[in-house]
């Protein structure tokens, strides 16, 4: 830093206003308000984040409103009208039973998003505390918890989910539980790894020398400083949870027909792939767009949550 300029500046000002500022850098006053404004500006300033956020918002709104805006009922069978390509009456075409694909994609969206959200929330709520405690405490507790996590990791994701679904009855709740359990160890690992690096940081040590209780340190210092990797992991997991649900439904173990789900629709479409491309393309595109939007939004959020990034963005704007 240009320490000396600061000195001379400081010497020139009145003693009352004199800050022994060793750098000319950031002389302006930041307040809580500008922090929030800066966060929005940073979010808005990145077109990729903005577009992906808007896309995700649109998908969520459409999925929630699906029962009211869907042009047809999801189980309106009309065999005479089966396997029709996209047209004015049926924008996304019809399937082998003459059901409207647009309506089914919209309604299925609600199911898919609900499953992804609940299962990732489950994984987050169980995995992050386990990881933080394990990483911060160390010792035998850490070893035991991490070996359990290792065992869970050793199973291929789908195999574990299959086993859970097979034991319980297939259905929406079981699918949520299966995906949630599968993703828990990932959150535990990410949280633990980040905690390991944060716990040796001097600011944590300082806090310990003050006699701060461990749980306060975990909440006040560790958790905020590991948000970056965890936010990214959450957005990635949301995307993968949608894919997992699709895969389970594709295998016939997730959402049971006639309820629509994106994966289930793909499963249904595979028999007609050469005659009716629209049956697989539209649910497939829905999965693709949602997953991509989740991933891109996660990257943007990570920057917004970091006060340093906010300041940098503000400085860029001022220049």
């Amino acid at each position: 830093m240009s320490d000396t300029t600061g000195h001379e500046k400081a010497a020139a000002t009145t003693p009352a206003a004199q800050a022994p500022s060793d750098d000319g850098g950031t002389g302006r006053v930041a307040s809580a308000d500008t922090g929030r404004v800066a966060a929005w500006r940073l979010l808005a300033g990145n077109p990729v984040t903005l577009v992906s956020g808007a896309a995700l918002a649109l998908i969520i709104v459409l999925s929630v409103l699906a029962p009211w805006i869907a042009p047809y009922g999801i189980n309106d069978v009309n065999v005479a009208n089966a396997l029709q390509g996209p047209s004015g009456a049926h924008w996304f075409g019809t399937d082998d039973l003459g059901r409207d694909i647009l309506s089914r994609v919209l309604v299925a969206g609600g199911t898919s998003l609900r499953i992804a959200l609940v299962s990732v929330a489950f994984a987050f709520v169980v995995g992050v505390p386990v990881g933080i405690v394990s990483g911060y405490t160390g010792g035998i507790l850490d070893t035991v918890l991490m070996r359990v996590v290792d065992v869970m990791f050793a199973f291929p994701v789908l195999l574990l989910a299959l086993a859970i679904v097979a034991i319980l009855q297939p259905g929406e709740l079981t699918t949520m539980l299966a995906i949630g359990i599968v993703y828990t160890p990932i959150f535990a690992r990410v949280a633990r790894a980040s905690t390991l690096s944060v716990r040796v940081e001097p600011y944590v040590q300082v806090s310990r020398t003050m006699g701060t209780p461990a749980r306060t340190i975990l909440v006040r210092h560790v958790l905020p400083n590991i948000t970056g990797p965890i936010v990214v992991q959450t957005s990635l997991s949301l995307a993968f949870a949608i894919l997992s649900e699709a895969a389970l439904s594709f295998l016939g173990l997730g959402i049971q027909p006639p309820s629509p789900s994106w994966g289930g629709m793909l499963f249904n479409a595979q028999g007609f792939i050469s005659q009716a491309w629209w049956m697989s393309i539209f649910p497939g595109a829905a999965i693709f767009v949602t997953v991509l939007a989740c991933n891109l939004l996660g990257d943007g959020l990570r920057d917004v949550l970091d006060p340093k990034q906010r300041t940098l963005a503000e400085q860029r704007r001022m220049r």
Binding site: D3, T4, T5, P20, V29, V206, M210, D306, T311
Partner: protein, 531 residues
């Protein structure tokens, strides 16, 4: 006068739209040393990297001229804007580099032989055998004991000073015309620093190498350089022969740098003898270390005893690994001592409850990492108050303002984040946080070691003022003897976990009783090199 090995004229470096180095010019002759001095951010490394074609920053633009005339470049080679291929021919062959951190600049997975012979095989086309012979000579030249065996060892088997010797051997492998040394002794202890300095001087004398020595430390530069270039904000402030510069600095900035630099001879303002506040007896700290052959125990602190009187400062000085920081960590409860006692005003510290924690605060070395980057400065200062439930939240805001005032910072700093502050300001925040609970004893563990000299001088001044105003008792831990003398009333010298000497500051610096203390004092670069 011979022709200079490196001639730099009108060198400017911009990154993005900002110009960082402005029209710099200097030259080094064979056998001569140019010292480049400046505080952090002055562009000293950047300009030399740019001049030698090693600058690799996105968006960087270098203009001006830098001509190298070595044994292989009789007509001179323009390094600014040279092609990567042309630069590869020069780097390692005609220019050798030594960087600051010897622990990261060596490849951890290759033996020393492979690392030294690499340049020889590339540039000199030596065979494996010839290169090994040459590597052996080099290790002998840089004074590494038992070079034959060392050739097959890995970097982690060497100490910091030995690694820096190897770096120098690598840099000199092809007998370069120019050696660039970027803060080569900053990460080393004083005694090791003195050895490295005399090694480079001797090698330079034998081989006639031109040296560019970059450092923030005027003491070191004064010892090695023939000419000194003082840099500030990318601009040359003063460029003169070293003795002229030290004896009669022309520019006010140089004068200020010379004034601010810690040097032996300044003493702490006297403090009256008082009651013993902190008393440590037979402190023993051991760390179990897992090695491939089983567990071993490192005896970090070995039976250390000392007393600190109220209102006075005990300086603890020693080289890295001497156990001085471990004492601080044991006192603050970060590590558990093996045995021994410590009492604060008669109460046992090691069996202390949280209430007693209030009376002992600590300020760490690194101002960049000792504040939580996600917390506003005010919240950081507030933390100890909140942990100990002191005073109610309404008055806490006033207290934070008061504490900021105490360290000469305006109240609006409370709403800033640490990354918005400079190093000196952050360290002031750390001090304010340490003072929040009105402690009796403040432990300062290398608290000014990572600050620039002028900032360091101001923080030390602040600490001395606070000591008098608040009647504080300090345990001042540092590796820099001059600073310890400036701050301490009593001094404890540590070596390998043991207390070597413990005496009042005046006596210890005037007539050190122990051999090790004398060696430490002798290794401090003299204020004015005698030639």
């Amino acid at each position: 006068m011979s022709t200079p090995v490196l001639t730099v004229t009108d060198l400017s470096v911009s990154i993005g739209r900002r110009e960082i180095v402005h029209g710099l010019g200097f030259a080094v002759e064979a056998g001569g040393t140019l010292g480049i001095v400046g505080e952090s951010g002055s562009g000293k490394s950047l300009s030399v990297l740019a001049a030698t074609g090693l600058l690799d920053a996105p968006g960087a633009r270098v203009t001006g001229s830098s001509v190298l005339r070595g044994a292989g470049e009789k007509d001179g080679v323009q390094l600014v804007g040279a092609s990567p291929k042309a630069l590869r021919k020069v780097h390692g062959n005609s220019i050798g580099f030594v960087f600051q951190d010897p622990s990261t600049s060596l490849h951890p997975l290759l033996t020393l032989e492979r690392q030294i012979t690499e340049t020889l095989e590339t540039h000199r086309r030596l065979s494996r055998r010839q290169a090994r012979t040459r590597a052996l000579e080099l290790l002998e030249a840089v004074g590494l004991p038992d070079p034959e065996r060392r050739l097959d060892s890995y970097p982690h088997q060497l100490s910091g000073g030995q690694r820096q010797r190897v770096m120098i051997a690598i840099a000199l492998a092809c007998d370069p015309a120019l050696l660039v040394a970027d803060e080569p002794t900053t990460a080393l202890d004083v005694t090791t620093q003195a050895q490295i300095i005399s090694l480079v001087q001797q090698l330079q004398h034998d081989r006639g190498t031109a040296v560019v020595w970059i450092s923030h430390d005027l003491g070191v530069v004064g010892q090695v350089a023939d000419d000194v270039l003082v840099l500030r904000d990318g601009q040359a402030v003063e460029h003169r022969p070293v003795l002229d510069l030290l004896d009669s600095p022309q520019h006010p900035y140089t004068q200020k740098l010379l004034e601010a630099r810690p040097r032996l001879g300044k003493v702490a303002p006297p403090a009256p003898e008082g009651e013993v506040l902190l008393s440590v007896r037979d402190l023993d700290v051991k760390f179990p270390v897992q090695t491939p052959v089983g567990k071993t125990v490192v005896h970090a602190v070995d039976g250390v005893s000392f007393d600190v009187q109220r209102g006075r400062t005990l300086g603890i000085v020693g080289e890295s690994g001497s156990g001085k920081s471990t004492i601080a960590n044991a006192l603050t409860g970060l590590v558990a001592p093996e045995s021994g006692t410590a009492t604060l005003g008669g109460t046992d510290l090691f069996r202390a409850d949280r209430g007693l924690r209030r009376r002992l605060a600590m300020v760490f070395q690194d101002p960049f990492s000792s504040l939580d980057p996600r917390m506003r400065v005010g919240d950081s200062i507030d933390e100890p108050l909140r942990v100990h439930g002191l005073p109610s939240s309404g008055t806490r805001a006033e207290r934070i303002e008061e504490l900021l005032g105490l360290v000469d910072l305006p109240a609006d700093f409370a709403t800033r984040y640490p990354h918005e502050l400079s190093g000196g300001q952050r360290q002031r925040i750390s001090i304010a946080r340490a003072l929040a609970l009105e402690p009796d004893v403040v432990i300062l563990d290398e608290s000014t070691a990572s600050l620039d000299v002028s900032i360091q001088a101001r923080v030390l001044e602040l600490l001395r003022r606070l000591q008098v105003e608040l009647g504080l008792t300090y345990v001042f831990i540092a590796h820099d003897l001059a600073i310890v003398q400036e701050m301490s009333h009593d001094v404890l010298v540590m070596q390998n976990g043991r207390a070597v000497e413990h005496a009042p500051a005046g006596r210890l610096f005037a007539e050190p009783a122990e051999e090790y203390t004398r060696a430490l004092l002798a290794a401090v670069p003299p204020e004015r090199p005698g030639r």
